[in-house]
Assembly symmetry: C3
Homo-oligomer: 109 residues x 3
């Protein structure tokens, strides 16, 4: 039995949980951090048999891969004309940190 | 030495921590998730000697077992008479997910 | 490969993350608990090679050691004269709980 601890971007959490559930994996979602400038992260814990580890890792890696996204800055920049205008910003989203740990017992009550 | 990671319902967290402390177990409480429709969960970490694992698991299972609870819905349903009335809802509370992991070192400073 | 789970005081979190980053260790910061009377804690996860465990533990222990701090109570005490005055309180800050766990795989995407 293995415990997979995956720390993923908040934006990807719902997608990755949905996909894992569809494939029959039970996911425990821990608390989410808040963040001002960038979104926070969500910690997922998944208990799986050793022969299913690669399937879970594949789903997490596919869903949470780092990619670029253009957002409109919510704090508009002041221009020299004195008018505040929103402006697009290119940010990097996604990414994940994953630990696979051997687990003695996995209990769901 | 073992690390017990128990994810329990917020409602049960205080009871289970109290009981564990009374029995001499030190519990580290991680962050709690918030939830809109249902209460969130709390993650507990307990470092124990191998021969105490079953005692801790017993306390968690006893305190956090799944049970039914009737609550009065805080968002009253609109009736055909145009009057808003609170109504009782049967929900399932409790439950826990527990991982027992082998630990090399446990340090408390 | 080892996973170090360090639960530290919020006040020490930034310092210990900075120091670990300077030494080349990547730290994943989980959610922070809030607290009313005392500050909350922050959970850090650090994946390191076995021969680096002692360096990380040394940095955490040094940065997060328990110490006393005198604060001015934000909820002033009412005196017999009917005047509310702030008063100094000696509190204990710092401290950490650390678990070192063997890890099969550590993936950063
Ligand atoms: Ni890039
Ligand atoms: Ni039931
Ligand atoms: Ni002291």
């Amino acid at each position: 039995m293995k415990l997979i601890i995956a720390i993923v971007n908040d934006e990807d959490a719902i997608d990755v949980i949905d996909l894992l559930n569809e494939k029959g994996f039970r996911v425990t979602k821990l608390a989410t951090t808040g963040g001002f400038l960038k979104s926070g992260n969500t910690t997922l814990m998944i208990g799986v048999d050793e022969d299913k580890v690669e399937i879970v890792l594949g789903i997490v890696e596919e869903t949470c891969r780092t990619r670029h996204q253009v957002i409109t800055n919510p704090s508009p920049l002041s221009t020299t004309t004195g008018v505040y205008v929103p402006y697009p910003v290119d940010i990097e989203v996604g990414g994940a940190t994953i630990f696979v740990v051997d687990v003695d017992q996995f209990i769901k009550i």
